[in-house]
Symmetry: C2
Subunit: 602 residues, 2 copies
């Protein structure tokens, strides 16, 4: 391809809003342009790399028996009402009314659409397992789109959905997906960190996120310095502190006067101790609680209700006391999971006062009968503690877990932080910021049950299939490749996703230099190597600068001087390498071909 016959509008200036390298470099190299905030257009150069990522994903999906389909991007709102997500997806889902007043959605994901297709077509166990996928336009109405493709409004996602007769089959596909995802990112030249993730709004259990490290990442990852433990902080666990040795005799519970001391910091000052000595008690409000509360303290009047005839009954609202060691934070994602609640949030002050019958700041587990008490595991490792006494200006000291209070439920609720110890190996945990490129989930029956999918088994009995869902952001993956592979001058493409594999720069595009450049380009293209020939009438310095910016792996410079040597040569340089080699013209094609294919083979 001649440079002048394509459309690569490179820029010297950096767009004002481009904070990260991929955003900056995709604009400067003429790969991408903006149509509006969070809405982009791939230009020819960018689309070439995009298609390569897409092709890698497609190959790997086909390789594990994924079947590609193509549902519409605009889908009927009815499907979302059936699954219940019409109400729960929030404002990030772009809803449209058409001219006839029908509700539609510009798809943010396609569990409903694909499940409705499967529902119509699934009859027999013989059709299972079934994995369908699409690589298609998605839309999420980000309030603050930024970082270029990293957080756009419209994007392309590979989303796959699998259906199974049993857990073993779902496990098998889930595992195969996990391996395929690892191959995809490796082929794109990306270092990803697979982490256990909370499945958030998607529902279900068992999921894995594929993260890339990024200073502007949306996610906090918890990693172990010793072993390969990695988890999203929303789900990360750590090693519990050792249980206290059985001390002969602990002093008895004792109230102390703590006038106007309502925070742990004040209490530390007051008692000259540190936060680790305290039992912090927080009152939480939870919505749509599926956990069974019958017999729980203060829950006598609560009744489960179903929001619709199909939905499972839940407690629409319930309150809980959550106790945790004073220096730790409650992880609300973990808490919601333990309570099987759709949402948890700290109760308002007046509710705290009403429920604990004490001023704010004096809640505590001892003698608490108005609420179910949920204790973090950290408390069982506490020899003794200090806590609020459920009355004004009073705390207890020498509080002993199991002796002075017994929680209704005990669970891992803490937010893991740097310095905690790894649950697997005891090593030191640390934090990183990351961006999610892919996510695989086991959904179980969430959609297949609410959307009434069924199949007949060998004996003619009807069953609901299990389901999994598996996404990769194509644009984010592409942008992440640039994040990982660039320098001050521009992009340094891994061969597999480079828009072209070789760039030929004739010093001046005329005479024998032009002739050789043309021949070499044609010869390489004969070998199916993708060549960009910079035929522009520009100074060599400009061409070199653009070549560095574009980041095409091999740069070949054809100059008159080098052609006039006894043995004519061209200059070859791998983008990102310091060393420039001279190749004999007669061997240039074969050697370049070898270099390119070697890198493609990985």
């Amino acid at each position: 391809m001649l440079f002048t016959q394509t459309f690569i509008p490179t820029l010297r200036e950096v767009p004002a809003d481009a904070v990260i390298a991929s955003h900056r470099l995709m604009f400067r190299s003429g790969m991408l342009r903006k149509l509006a905030n969070g809405l982009f257009a791939y230009l020819p150069l960018g689309l070439r790399s995009f298609r390569k990522v897409e092709a890698i994903v497609r190959e790997e999906m086909n390789g594990i028996r994924g079947l590609e389909i193509k549902p519409s991007v605009v889908v009927p709102g009815e499907l979302w009402k059936e699954s219940g997500r019409w109400d729960t997806m929030g404002d990030a889902m772009l809803r449209v009314q058409n001219r006839l007043g029908g509700d539609f959605v510009v798809s943010p994901t396609a569990e409903e659409a694909v499940t409705s297709l499967v529902r119509d077509a699934l009859a027999s166990y013989r059709q299972l397992p079934l994995t369908l996928y699409q690589i298609n336009t998605k839309y999420r109405d980000e309030i603050r789109p930024r970082y270029g493709l990293m957080r756009g409004r419209e994007f392309t996602m590979k989303d796959a959905y699998s259906y199974h007769a049993d857990e073993a089959s779902l496990d098998e596909t889930y595992r195969a997906m996990g391996l395929a995802y690892r191959r995809i990112f490796k082929r794109c030249g990306l270092s990803v960190i697979p982490v256990r993730a909370d499945s958030g709004a998607m529902g279900g259990s068992d999921s894995e996120e594929f993260m890339v490290e990024s200073t502007i990442g949306d996610n906090t990852l918890i990693l172990c310095r010793t072993c390969d433990y990695a988890a999203n902080v929303e789900k990360a666990a750590c090693k519990a502190e050792a249980a206290p040795s059985q001390a002969a005799a602990l002093p008895a519970l004792e109230p102390i006067h703590t006038p106007s001391v309502t925070t742990i910091a004040q209490l530390c000052d007051f008692l000259k101790t540190d936060a680790r000595s305290f039992i912090k008690t927080l009152i939480y409000r939870a919505r749509n609680v599926a956990l069974d509360l019958s017999g729980a303290p203060g829950s006598a009047g609560l009744a489960k209700r179903a929001s619709s005839p199909e939905a499972s009954p839940v407690y629409p609202e319930a309150f809980f006391a959550v106790a945790i060691r004073g220096d730790l934070e409650v992880n609300e994602v973990k808490l919601a999971a333990v309570l099987k609640a759709s949402e948890v949030s700290l109760a308002a002050d007046e509710e705290v006062v009403r429920l604990t019958a004490a001023p704010r700041g004096f809640a505590g587990p001892v003698g608490l009968t108005s609420l179910p008490l949920v204790a973090d595991l950290s408390l069982s490792a506490l020899q003794e503690g200090i806590t609020g006494a459920l009355q004004a200006d009073t705390h207890y000291v020498h509080v002993v877990y199991g002796r002075d209070f017994v929680p209704w439920l005990s669970a891992d609720l803490r937010t893991v932080v740097s310095g905690d110890r790894c649950a697997l190996c005891g090593g030191e945990l640390y934090e990183k910021k990351g961006n999610e490129l892919g996510h695989i989930f086991k959904l179980g029956y969430k959609y297949t049950r609410s959307m009434q999918v069924s199949y007949l088994d060998e004996s003619g009995q009807s069953h609901i299939p299990l389901m999994g869902t598996y996404g990769i952001g194509i644009d984010r993956t592409l942008a992440s490749v640039i994040e990982e592979h660039h320098d001050e001058e521009g992009i340094i493409w891994p061969m597999a996703v480079a828009p072209y594999q070789v760039i030929i720069i004739p010093i001046t595009y005329a005479g024998p230099v032009k002739a050789l450049a043309d021949t070499l380009a044609a010869d390489l293209e004969q070998d199916r190597i993708e060549v960009l020939l910079d035929d522009r009438n520009e100074r060599p310095g400009v061409k070199f600068k653009d070549a560095d910016l574009l980041g095409i792996p091999y740069r070949v410079v054809v100059g008159e001087k080098n052609l006039n040597r006894d043995v004519p040569v061209v200059e070859v340089k791998r983008r990102g390498d310091a060393i420039m080699r001279l190749l004999e013209v007669s061997k240039a094609k074969a050697e370049l071909s070898r270099l390119v294919y070697r890198e493609l083979a990985g």
Copy 2:
């Protein structure tokens, strides 16, 4: 590919709303499913053929130096406001407000989006000509989506946009597009009729539509039995009737009493003559008239106004008398073009009465001074005629064009019908119904001017580029292939767009039959032939019926009896042919490969 490892849910029943063959057969063969009215999902089989059409289109676009880009599907409403189409596109354009109140459009076409990209990047004449295209999702909010993919709401379009420094360059790309379109349809196995078309809401001049004949077609085509003239009826011309010989002396104009005779049919009865003798005069209301009316009858008070600072000034509303031979119909698309109006419609009765100062039914050109008179060319060929006399119960006879009235403007306004004579060769014209698959236009400066695109020429002077636009409906093209290639039993795929090229049917998938079927499939796939192996545990009759329905070009039946012959054979049949051939097993692969590649080569 094994049948049991893909997802081809064939149907015995025909969907109730499937009127045409492609709709029926795509559903029955498991290529397509419906998500809602006008919204579909391609299943794996359908997507394979879809991708082949897409690939053919892409190849041909790249072949004429088209550069592929990928703008977002959801685009900012601001771009449509800039071009002025925010107001003129009507309700078929799907508009969305996002959570922040911004206006967005789910693209029905992309003149604005692509022109905005070019505006940002175009600097020099050296970048021209430039042809950018996308193959991407489009949406039109059809009120009555039907006929499956033929009239859906969401569809995939290849839309290309070209930018030029001069007319010659635009001509060249326009011609290259026309040829590329012909190759695309030929490669898909389609018989298209290229017709001159009115450019409708797209603006500009010089355009060509690519039609396929269809009984449910949206368009009426006018074709010549003798030469290759073909036009959309909206734009079709015909040979004007010969001018009258100069008769020595025509009788003078004479009023006659025609009590309560207000229609041409009544007048024919009353005067015992036929409609060809009459001059029919209709009063039209036109909106946004760009034609200069200064000095036209009855237009003294009219003033041109611009709807916005950028828009050209037009007469917001004007009325015209349109005269035509009594047996002919006024073509309103032609009339709007002649008047340079955005819209024309018959005036309401009270306006007719007000403007002609006569009861309805007595309008006529003689003595008409309150309105500009626009005459169809048919009138100048009339020796003499009968017409309304602008007063109640009175007509004129012996009305002579040029003697008794002189039109303000004379133009071709008639709707051509079967039986008219070809303007090119005088042959007989006839009508066909057709569906549009593609459309190419010269847009001129319409968008580049309103969106203020410019480039610098060699001497540094700024110019506005010319523009062309070129679309093909990918889904419609695919559906049209089935319309043209099917029989009672199912689809008969042309090789180039067949989802698979060979289907292998083992009578029972076991033992040596299975072994041979597997080997043959593997061998053919080695030759890059796409094979579907029907490994289902179904009766041969079911498999044969499905094979006919799916329409895969070559069917190979492997049966035990044929394998047990002295020289083992398989049965080979081309879908659509009556004849079944026996091929020796040892030669089957080579022969099938030869047959497939011969057809692929065309």
